[in-house]
Symmetry: C2
Subunit: 479 residues, 2 copies
C-alpha cells in the first residue's frame, strides 16, 4: 500500500484532481441548482419537489458518466440509482447519500430564503447545503473528474435516496429487493462533519435513534378552563408530568428503567483518544450559548455528544399556542421525544421500555399513547480496514492533514441497514463542519469544505484502488 | 315589594312581555346578523370585524330606543355606550356585555362554520352565540320591548365592550374616565350559565384569574438533536420539569408556596346549599368524558368548579409540532398557564408567588421568564340586595322556577372593576347552559334559553322598578 505521499504522485490521480480543480465554478453552479429544489420529504405538499430533485440527481449522474441510471419508485419518495462498473476484479464502493432535506421552519429566522442559495462569508447558505446535497455533489463531482480524465480506478454504485430525513421508511425493502445488484466491498457515506476547518476526522461510531410521540388525551373536546377547571384532569399538565419523569434535569440521566442496561462502557484508551481530539469548545459555545455544557458530569462533553445516549423533547404542542391568552382546558397534548442510542442499545427494545415506563407513570383520568415514529440502531465500525485507511489517505491529500477518529452524535440508520442487508461496512467520510446549522435556520456549506471534499473524494478512489493507505490509528491497532 | 305572582300581573310588564313574544323571529334574525361578524378580539387580522360588530351593536342600540349612543375608541377595540334616562328618581341599572368572541380553532372540529350561524336541534350554533352575543341581545331585545310599549320603568346605561376575551386591557381606563357618566345603582351582567334547562340560577361568586406565560430559553437557535443532544439543556424538557412542579397530579393540589394562604374556607351552610343544587353530573360527564371528576378529593365537584382555585396549562408549544419526526433540539419552549382564583386571593400577589417559585425550581443552563398576561380578582357578592331579589323574581317569571344560588368557575373581571371604579355591585343573571361549548368548537345558544332570557330581562326591569322581589335565599338571610 502506498503512503499518502506516494499516492499523491500517482499521475492518474493528479489528472483527476486537476480536472476537478479546473471546474470549481461549474461544481458550485451545479450545487446551487440542486439546492434550489425544495425537496422537503416530510411535508406532503413538497412531494413534487422531492421528485424533481430525484430527476435532477439522475440527470447529473448520467452527465457524470454513470450508467444504468434510473429512478425507482417507492410508496413515498424514489431512490435514484446509478453505477460505473469498470472491471469486476477492481474494488467496488457503494456510495450512499440523500437528496431530501429537513423542513425549514422557523422561516423568519433565515437571513436569506432557504431555497435561494446565497454565498456569504465563504459559505453557501441553503437548506440541504451541508445535509446532504453538498456532500452528495462532492462525490458526484469526483466521479465526473475521474470519468473526464482516465476513468474511475474502482467500480462505483450510487444509491441516493429521498427519505433520509423521515427515517428512510422504504429503503430497507428497496435494498433487500436489490441486494444482489448492490453487492460491493464497502460503503461510503458523506453525511457527517469533520472536527474543524483543516482538521479532518473519520467517524467510526454513530448513535442510533428511537423517536416516539407521547399523546395524552383528556376531555372529549377543548373545555373552558373556568367552567371546568379544577374537576377535569388537564392533558397538558399530565404530559409535563410524564415528560419530567423521563429525565433527571440535574444529572442528565435518563430515568427509564433498564435504559442503560445495554450501553457499552467507553474503554479507557478510547476515552484518552477522545480527550486528545481538538474539540472546538468555542464553536460549541457559540452554537449553544452554554460552553459549560449540560449533562452527565461523569462524561466529557465529547463523550456526551458521541458515546452516551440521550433523551430530548423535539416538540410540544397543546391547546392555545397563538399570541395572548385563551382560557382553554385542552382535549389533548402531544410531545415528540427522541432518544439517541449507543452500542449495544436496540431501538425496538427501547420503545418497549419507554412504553412500559410511561404506562406506570401516567397519571389517572387521562389516556396516554406512545407511538413509535422511527428507530435506528447505533453503529460502531471496525477501524482496521483497507477502506478506512483509504479514507485517511484521501483526507490527507484533500485537507493536507491526517484525520482524527471520532464518534458522531447523529444517527445514520443506513449504516446499520447496509451491514444487515448487504453485509458491508461503511466508511463515514464527511465534509461538513460542526456549525453548519443542520436541521436549523441558516444551514450552510463552507465552500472550501466543498472543494476539499471533492478532492478527498477523488483521492479516495485512488487510495482504495491502491489497497488503502498505511493508516495511523493506534486504537484500531490495539484491537 | 310585590311577590313574583303580583309582579307578573303588572299590566305594563305584561305588555312588554307580549311585545317581546310577538317578535321572536325578529329577535332571532337580529342575533344571527350579529353572529355573522367574526369579531375575534385576540387575532389582529380580525380588528376590522371587531369594529364592524361595534357598529352593528351601536345601530341596534339606537333602533331599540337608546339615546346618546356612541362608539368610544380605545388603544385597541372600541367600547359601545348607550343609555335611556327615563327619570332620575328611578333606579338606574348599568348593563355590561361584550361583542367580541374567542378564536375558533381547531376549525376542523366545527360541524358548521363558526360564523355561519346554523339552527340544529333547537339551538343556534355559532362562535359567540352564548358568550356573549346571545346574552347581550337578550338584554337589547328586552329594552326594545319596553320601549315599544310603555317605555322602560328604570333608567339603563349600556356598556358593551370588545376586549373581554383578551382581558379587557382598556376597560379600566375607559371606565375611570367615564365614571361620573356611568353612575348607577347596580350593574347587570348576562355572561354566565344557569344550572340546566328550566333550572335557573343566580351566580353570587366568580373566580378570579391569573394568566401567565412561562418561557424557557436554551440554545441560541434550534439545534440538531444528534449533533448536540446530551450536552445541551433542552428547554422543552426543562419546561415540563417546571410545569410538573406547579401541580400535584395525584391530589389536584397546587404546589406554589403560599398559594392557598388567602383562600377563604367554604362555610358549612354554603357547602350544604351547594350540595343540594341539582348539579347535572350527566352533562358534566358528557362534556369531559370523565364523570368521576378529577381533583382535590376534599371537595365536591361543584366546590372544585366554583369555590376552589385551579392551575391549568392552557397551551404548550416548542420545537417541531407538525406531522412526523424532526430531530430538533429546540431553542425555546412556552407554556401558557392560568390559575383560577377564589376570595380572597389577589392576582398580583399570585403572579409574584408563581414567579418566585418558578425561579427556585427552574433547572440550571436555561433562562426562564414568567410573563403576566392578565389577571382578574375573584368576586363574592352580597346576596341580600334589592337587585338580587329582582333577578330572582325575574327568573321566576322568565323560567317559571325560582333560581338556585351558585358559584361560577369562570372569571368576569368587570365585576371587580365596577365595584372598584363605580362602587356598585353586580347581578349576574345569565341565560347560557353549561354545555354551550364556550371557548370550544361548536359553541351554541339554545333558542329556548334566548327566548326565556329576553322575558327574564324584561321582567328584571319591572322587578327592579318595584323594589326587588321577596327573595328566597336562606344563606343570605343568615348573613
Amino acid at each position: 500500500m502506498p503512503t499518502p505521499t506516494a499516492l499523491a504522485a500517482d499521475p492518474r490521480l493528479l489528472a483527476a484532481l486537476a480536472a476537478a480543480r479546473a471546474d470549481r465554478a461549474g461544481a458550485l453552479a451545479r450545487l446551487v441548482e440542486l439546492l434550489r429544489i425544495p425537496s422537503v420529504s416530510t411535508v406532503p405538499e413538497h412531494a413534487p419537489d422531492v421528485r424533481a430533485a430525484a430527476e435532477w440527481v439522475a440527470a447529473r449522474m448520467r452527465a457524470a458518466g454513470l450508467t444504468g441510471v434510473r429512478i425507482d419508485d417507492t410508496p413515498r419518495h424514489p431512490v435514484v440509482y446509478g453505477e460505473r462498473i469498470v472491471d469486476v476484479s477492481m474494488p467496488t464502493v457503494l456510495i450512499y447519500g440523500h437528496y431530501d432535506v429537513q423542513p425549514v421552519d422557523p422561516l423568519d429566522l433565515w437571513q436569506t430564503p432557504p431555497f435561494e442559495p446565497t454565498e456569504r462569508d465563504g459559505a453557501l447558505y441553503a437548506r440541504g447545503s451541508s445535509d446532504d446535497k453538498g456532500q452528495v455533489m462532492a462525490n458526484l463531482e469526483a466521479i465526473a473528474a475521474w470519468e473526464a480524465t482516465g476513468g474511475l480506478p474502482v467500480n462505483v454504485k450510487l444509491v441516493i435516496e429521498g427519505e433520509e430525513e423521515i427515517g428512510s421508511p422504504n429503503l430497507d425493502a428497496w435494498m433487500r429487493a436489490h441486494a444482489h445488484e448492490l453487492a460491493a466491498d464497502v460503503a461510503l457515506v458523506s453525511d457527517t462533519a469533520i472536527l474543524a476547518p483543516g482538521t479532518p476526522s473519520i467517524v467510526y461510531a454513530l448513535r442510533g435513534l428511537c423517536y416516539v410521540e407521547i399523546e395524552v388525551e383528556g376531555p372529549r373536546r377543548d373545555l373552558h378552563s373556568g367552567q371546568y377547571g379544577g374537576a377535569v384532569a388537564n392533558p397538558a399538565n399530565a404530559l409535563c408530568h410524564i415528560v419530567d419523569q423521563l429525565l433527571d434535569q440535574a444529572t442528565g440521566r435518563i430515568r427509564i428503567p433498564g435504559f442503560y442496561d445495554r450501553v457499552r462502557p467507553i474503554e479507557p484508551a478510547e476515552r484518552a483518544e477522545l480527550a486528545r481530539a481538538p474539540f472546538d469548545l468555542g464553536a460549541f459555545g457559540g452554537a449553544t450559548g452554554d460552553a459549560g455544557g449540560w449533562g452527565d458530569a461523569d462524561y466529557s462533553i465529547v463523550e456526551r455528544l458521541g458515546a452516551r445516549p440521550t433523551l430530548d423533547v423535539n416538540g410540544l404542542v397543546s391547546g392555545w399556542t397563538g399570541a395572548g391568552a385563551k382560557t382553554v382546558l385542552p382535549a389533548k397534548a402531544l410531545a415528540k421525544v427522541s432518544m439517541r442510542l449507543v452500542p449495544d442499545q436496540d431501538p425496538d427494545e427501547i420503545v418497549a421500555l419507554i412504553t412500559d415506563y410511561v404506562a406506570t407513570i401516567a397519571p389517572p383520568h387521562v389516556e396516554v399513547t406512545v407511538r413509535n415514529l422511527h428507530g435506528a440502531r447505533p453503529a460502531l465500525a471496525d477501524r482496521d480496514t483497507a477502506a478506512i485507511r483509504a479514507a485517511a489517505a484521501a483526507y490527507e491529500i484533500g485537507f493536507g492533514q491526517a484525520p482524527y477518529y471520532m464518534r458522531e452524535g447523529g444517527s445514520i440508520p443506513v449504516v446499520a441497514l447496509m451491514a444487515d442487508v448487504l453485509g458491508i461496512d461503511t466508511v463515514l467520510m464527511g465534509f461538513g463542519l460542526p456549525d453548519d446549522n443542520l436541521h436549523a435556520p441558516n444551514e450552510r456549506f463552507v465552500l472550501d469544505q466543498y472543494e476539499r471534499g471533492v478532492d478527498t473524494a477523488v483521492a479516495f478512489h485512488a487510495a482504495l484502488a491502491a489497497g488503502g493507505g498505511e493508516g495511523d490509528d493506534p486504537v484500531a491497532a490495539r484491537r
